[in-house]
């Protein structure tokens, strides 16, 4: 009987140890994923900033008006949004990430002498799980 009880003790210890090791591995995996997510998010923010930088140089208010035919964030035609952007990194372009960029614009204020548009740019990175989604807003004003 003594030897049987020792085997049970050993089995119990091994089960507890495996639970502990599994939990530790899970915890590390989750932390690592958080770090990777943060890195992917950082790159996605840079892409969204690039897109907003372009908005700074839109001189025609009509280009930000969703009702206009020259609306930049059009949903039709060859230049339609959402757009896919593949970025290569490294001396030999050895790293690749694909982003999906979407943008919308909304007239939030028209005072009679000034129009204000709120431009929202969102960037989605599906190369990581869960997906990274970043949204940046920019308010562009035009006097007329």
């Amino acid at each position: 009987m003594t030897s049987y009880s020792e085997i049970f003790y050993l089995l119990g210890a091994m089960v507890i140890f495996s639970f502990l090791s599994l939990n530790t591995a899970r915890s590390f995996n989750s932390s690592r994923q958080t770090v990777y997510q943060a890195e992917a998010e950082y790159r996605a923010i840079a892409v969204a900033q690039d897109e907003l930088d372009k908005v700074q140089w839109i001189y025609e208010p009509d280009d930000l008006d969703p009702e206009s035919s020259s609306y930049v964030y059009t949903r039709s035609g060859s230049d339609k949004y959402p757009k896919s952007l593949t970025q290569n990194y490294g001396a030999n372009d050895q790293y690749t990430t694909t982003f999906i960029i979407d943008g919308t614009s909304e007239l939030i204020d028209d005072s009679g002498s000034m129009k204000r548009f709120q431009v929202t740019v969102s960037v989605l990175n599906q190369n990581v799980t869960p997906e990274v989604f970043v949204t940046l807003d920019y308010v562009k004003s035009y006097t007329y």
Binding site: A25, E39, Y89
Partner: protein
């Protein structure tokens, strides 16, 4: 030898080996996480300075073409990058110095990315950051690559950094956590509508 004792040794030995293997794995993962976080902070700091400098290309310079050098790994431009110092518009240079490897770290891949410009309210000098890759591309307003200083409206900066220390994957293989970053700057002062 008692058979029970021998079996106990075998089971105990296996148990010990699994604990040791688990310990090694935990150590490696902790190292990887710590190094990745340090790397992320380093990139964040570097990007802050790059953001500041590149967005102020041409600021207060009073000239239409603020660039003196535009090559793949070297840019020299004029700009008032910090308004509260004693310098007005002055030369700022960012270059990747592949003749100057970082000797203070174990990483064999890193070289100094150097910034020459104002580093205080009244001091001008060089600060350097370890990096493994730095690349610049210059674009016209419509997004075409250019080497003509007068036509540059956008500057693309690409950066790869690795940590100075490594974590061990196995006895023959070490890994340096790596971060890549890319951004296209559209500086206001070279894109004015007149």
């Amino acid at each position: 030898m008692n058979a029970g004792l021998a079996i106990t040794f075998v089971i105990g030995g296996l148990f010990l080996i699994s604990i040791l293997a688990f310990n090694t794995q935990v150590m490696n993962q902790s190292q990887e996480l710590a190094l990745s976080s340090i790397n992320q902070n380093a990139l964040d700091n570097l990007v802050d300075i790059l953001d500041n400098d590149f967005n102020k290309i041409g600021f207060n310079s009073g000239i239409s073409v603020p660039f003196t050098i535009i090559t793949d790994q070297n840019i020299l431009f004029q700009g008032d990058v910090y308004d509260n110092d004693s310098y007005s518009s002055t030369n700022i240079r960012w270059f990747f110095d592949t003749s100057d490897p970082v000797t203070s770290t174990a990483n064999p891949n890193d070289y100094y990315l150097k910034r020459v410009g104002p580093i205080g309210t009244s001091s001008y000098g060089t600060i350097k950051f370890p990096a493994i890759y730095f690349d610049l591309n210059y674009y016209t307003a419509d997004g075409t690559t250019t080497t003509d200083k007068a036509s540059v409206k956008k500057v693309e900066v690409e950066l790869i950094i690795e940590t100075g220390a490594a974590y061990t994957i196995n006895s023959d293989n070490v890994e340096y956590p790596r971060l890549v970053w890319k951004r296209i700057f559209v500086p206001n002062n070279i894109n004015l509508p007149y």
